[in-house]
């Protein structure tokens, strides 16, 4: 697989830390686009602020690195103006569910055709390791020195409840599966969300004694449970497990489609 066909090679080596999963996700995205035979001139990648949001700088597409939490809003504008483009949003757990939460749930409610990849590393990594809405209760962060005391969103479930057509979750360890669900997400006409569990050994891992990057990735192998199996397990058995698989894959009216019908109606009047 020639990844560099899709990358801005002169920007490498990238800035992500040793053992960070973001590079693995990037590869999965490229394999998905390559499988779908999507041309580079057909893709706009939009990001917010954070480590995962640096991804657009490395890919050879139309790339827009926006303000913290707002990628989905900017992406909505791109999609409305040029619906023929594949719009992929890369964002993080903080960017998407804290400051960007409102935009995430409304875009899901609208079911606007785009793919949103939420890299969940349980922390605000880029800024040094502050607590995020996805930092598990009891874990530590620079702004939770006595441990995190808030519940987390069930991010994928939140998007499904808000109205997204396609929602799935994977880890970076399951890289083949990850590429397959990203492919499905891009292909799907509707709001598609993939929550991607990715290790941050530097900020989250160190303070919480999770080991180095490769240890955190191998742990994902043991912690992951397929959703079909999870449905037969008890809450106690599922504690601390990562449920991976497709949560929803359904046909719902898509926003651009619906609005184009409005345009036809308006033009007939």
């Amino acid at each position: 697989m020639d990844y560099f066909k899709y990358l801005r090679k002169d920007k490498f080596p990238h800035i992500w830390c040793a053992g960070c999963g973001d590079g693995i996700v990037l590869k999965a995205i490229i394999r998905a686009l390559d499988n779908l035979k999507i041309e580079k001139n057909q893709v706009a990648m939009v990001s917010g602020i954070g480590c995962s949001s640096r991804t657009p700088g490395y890919v050879d597409f139309y790339t827009l690195h926006t303000t913290h939490g707002r990628a989905i809003a900017f992406a909505t504008g791109i999609k409305m103006a040029k619906p023929e483009l594949h719009v992929i949003v890369v964002t993080g757990d903080g960017d998407a569910t804290a400051i960007g939460g409102n935009h995430l749930i409304h875009a899901a409610r609208r079911n606007i055709n785009m793919t949103v990849l939420i890299y969940n590393n349980h922390i605000y990594g880029m800024t040094g390791g502050q607590v995020s809405p996805a930092t598990p209760m009891g874990d530590f962060a620079t702004t939770a020195p006595f441990s995190a005391v808030e519940n987390n969103f069930a991010i994928a479930e939140l998007c499904a409840a808000a109205g997204a057509s396609f929602v799935a979750r994977s880890t970076v360890y399951h890289s083949n599966f990850l590429a397959k669900i990203i492919e499905r997400a891009i292909e799907k006409r509707g709001f598609s969300v993939v929550e991607i569990m990715t290790p941050c050994p530097t900020a989250y891992g160190k303070i919480n004694k999770k080991g180095t990057g490769e240890q955190m990735i191998l742990d994902q192998k043991n912690l992951a449970v397929r959703i079909e199996k999870a449905q037969t397990m008890s809450p106690e058995e599922l504690k601390n497990k990562i449920i991976i698989g497709t949560l929803v894959d359904r046909e719902l009216p898509e926003y651009i489609n619906t609005y184009e019908k409005i345009m036809s109606q308006a033009q007939r009047m």
Binding site: K40, G57, T76, K79, A266
Partner: protein
Amino acid sequence: MNSRTYMMQGNVAVAEGAIDAGCRFYAGYPITPSSEIAEHLSKRLPAIGGKFIQMEDEIAAMGAVIGASVAGVKSLTATSGPGFSLKQENIGYASLAEVPVVIVNVMRGGPSTGLPTLPSQGDVMQARWGTHGDHPIIALVPASVRETYDMTIQAFNWSEKYRTPVILLLDEIIGHVHEKVTLPDPDELQIFNRKKPSVPPEEYLPYKADESLIPEMAAFGDGYRYHITGLIHDETGFPTNNAEKIAEMMDRLNSKLLKYEHEIIQVEETDTGDAEIGIVAYGSSARSARTAMRKAREEGIKVGMLRIQTLWPFPVDKIYEFGKKVKEIVVPELNLGQIAHEVEHAIQDRFRVHRVNKVNGEPIHPDEILNKIRGLK
């Protein structure tokens, strides 16, 4: 009879001006007293192949119009004080990333929720410095419905020409007043579009400019794949921490409008030839001032007015020259002297500037200005 004669509301003039300027995307959030702009465009845009979306909040609306503009579609958003405050971060993004976009603020009483249905001119300084960091901005202030239509087209033309967000400042009076207007034939309007790349994609540098200081702008989807970021970047569009490149970027960005001030800065002078007392006014307050000026002249007082049309960049030189002609300057505003402060600075003398300030939600009565003038005689 000309079929483009209407009894038109100021807000509707914004919408129609935008359409005639080529705007085909609106994203916004309802907020009094600007909502008529959104309501009118929600009907007009889809009928002409454009798109309208009411976003979940003001910040999302600002993001969406930048995204649409980056993808090549002229875009508009409209709001009032509280929404204008929310939009500031993304306005700064548009300024730094040099994305053409027009933002309308129909000013109402502030601060905070303030006076939603009553006029003010309280956001004029915010229009210049509302977003953080050193950045350029253009802000225009119309004083009539027809001028609102013309300035909206002007706003789009300049945002495209100079690759900058342009803020159009109405107040609740101008936004809601209905006046008879006869609009020009849209085919006869001069419409300006952003400069497209003159080189093939492999050679395109999105932030490289020639002596014009304005880089060529490719639209996403047109075959030029490049990177746009809110981080300080060099001419390739990629982020940089190199001190020299940062200085280069900041210098070009903040001086690009200076080069075109002769075109951008517009004022309207009335009866200034023999004036002894001057008025500097803008927006709806300029209308009150016009009546005060007429009454003063009837009493034999020689009053002239310099009406500001382009608020930012501020018409420093024009006001300085005006200050040399007249003995005293009266500045009526629906705020506590935000522009009077700039006038004092422009003429280098705060003792000759006299404020008529009102922030109680009522327009300035011409007699309030007249009394001030009489006192200076």
